[in-house]
Symmetry: none
Subunit: 205 residues, 4 copies
DNA sequence: AATGAATGAGACTTCATTCAT
DNA sequence: CATGAATGAAGTCTCATTCAT
């Protein structure tokens, strides 16, 4: 019985190793060639595996990228879900500044793979859907935060939470993409400072 | 002699007609199928012309799209170059509101072809370069406007004109793309109002 | 000792069970998808067994079908070997009618798997050989019956037993395939009656 | 103007030549390898043409075979439509004998390509449909002939024209396939004689 | 006996592009 | 200028089969 289990897990182990080999090769090729130019053939060759092996583990190119970015995507969700319960304008600003900082920091850390993601968004409906989901989660979160701030008399009431949330996230997102495209040549602190200052001043009393 | 000239211009006329036929067909197919799925073959068939004819007039698919959107691009340049010399915060707000309005109005008018452009930006380096040019023109213009406002003591001085300009344009741009994707279901006025209000309040004293 | 024997036969039992599971799944998939579109992969999945398991029991797709239709093939052999010793034209007709009836009845009963067999005949040399064997057995049997009838002055002597046997069986066979293709929408009695009447009148005095 | 027409027809000529080259190569490869084993790649290589060229002229493998057998198929239609207006049993027999003779003669002449057709019938729905069409045309024709003979009191009335027609054609068809499979080793005259004799005796008074 | 991950040959198909007319 | 037949590179994906456990 133990034997049986061992056999199984050994196999599973090998399978996982192969999968990781594929993902490693994919990461390399994607970053090197970009999403469009990358072919499954290249990934397989780089992974030094058999031709059909990729198809044992993944359905197609999109599927590989999705698997590859799962972790990063989850980190985005975490940032989107950061709690927001300020009692003063200053506290709000600090919290917002933190969120923006984490967001752009993540962009910097995962710069190269996110550059691939940006390209893929324009080409793979599935990747696009994934990103839209993240976008929506952020926008909804921000809209709630704005509503909360208005209800607590911290923010101007003449602002549509959803539209303002969109506008705010869109700014952030575009800086995210800009960061992924320029190799570390941007000063994140400046960006965070400017963005937050203007946003808070425009929204909070 | 006159005969010769006539023959020549007749040829030129025909050539222009052919080119327009191609552009007309391209517009149709692009809007119908999107940038990626559109093939030169399809455009040619739709234009009821010979296979090689497209290559007489255009280098490739990107080239066709570029030609197709030239007018729209120029309209964007015009909006980017709108003059900005306000003497009061109110005047600034009115001018800005006008610019945003024109910008998003253009998005609505050219909705379908701009949807193609968005797709193409992620796939064609040339189209991307074209759009980046427009983006830069806008950002630079806005940065100048901010600097002007700061120099004239209308705007807060603690803001980096370039970063603020980017953030502001990025919001606008993302709404632009959102408008191109949703068939006229968005209330432009609301968007313009919210965006401008927050921006002006965040930037102007 | 007994224990050892038990262990062995238990293994054999399991093996037989696995084999039957495979055959059951194969029947289902073959009938569902047809011979060509059926893949060993599908059969294995449907049987919920391991990928390599099929190869322990069968050599390939053809081999599985062969095993699957063994029973039906044997029933055909039985019908082909039906005794024929009539003393009058009427007796001959009754016997022939019976044989044809059994033949087409079997077609109706095993309709779905025979439809697969027909497809496989055109694609698998082994299945084709199997069917040719049955065909030959029938033709030879009929030729003998004709010779017998001629020797006993029941049938016209101006007929080549082998050619006549072929012609007669061919008619029957084609009706067999037609029956397998149309779901029970054919009136077997009418077919049997017409075929036999014409055959007997054409052959027997 | 003449020039224009000439240019066109020269092109068309070349195109037709290419098509014929393809068909010639296809004929060779089909006969050599059979339908299943033949690949478009092989045909193209044999025709010494470019890879995509086959797809300019034909949609797929089936399409090539269809084009290749068009002539033969038409000859079958001609035989199926042979007129039948006998006034005596003898005349009927002569006419039928002629039709059967032509039918099997055609099989002999086009033996090799028909062997491919038989294989293809079991694999390509389109080829199957084509052959079913021919089969139906024959069966319908024969059924009409039988009806005519019954109405003119030449044939026994206790026979269903459609079923008898099928049975009769099925015999013939199976001999056709047998002929295509055995290289000219069959004596057509014997077959024709036996088939016709039995059929006429079984049907005609 | 059973397993199932890995393999890789190879079929199919599309499409941008060329070039002779 | 216009044409369109011909080209062939390139990529996707399937599936029978092997073999170590």
């Amino acid at each position: 019985m133990t034997n049986h289990i061992n056999t199984l897990s050994q196999r599973q182990l090998k399978s996982v190793q192969t999968r990781n080999k594929l993902l490693g090769a994919a990461r390399k090729v994607f970053i090197d060639q970009g999403f469009q130019k990358t072919t499954i053939t290249q990934i397989i060759k780089d992974a030094e595996l058999g031709y059909g092996t990729a198809y044992v583990h993944f359905k197609n190119k999109d599927d590989i990228l999705i698997a590859l970015i799962e972790d990063v995507m989850n980190q985005f969700y975490k940032i989107a879900d950061l709690p927001f319960r300020p009692t003063t304008k200053d506290e709000a600003e600090r919290t917002i500044r933190k969120q923006v900082g984490s967001f752009l920091e993540l962009a910097k850390q995962e710069q190269r793979i996110l550059a691939v993601v940006e390209e893929a968004i324009g080409q793979s409906p599935i990747v696009q859907a994934k990103w839209n989901d993240i976008r929506e989660r952020f926008v909804e979160g921000i809209a709630k935060d704005i509503t909360y701030s208005q209800e607590n008399n911290l923010a101007y009431p003449d602002v549509d939470p959803l539209l303002a949330g969109k506008g705010w996230f869109y700014s952030n997102e575009m800086f995210l993409w800009e960061i992924t495209k320029r190799d570390g040549k941007m000063n994140l602190e400046d960006i965070v400072h400017n963005l937050t200052t203007m946003y808070v001043r425009g929204l909070y009393k």
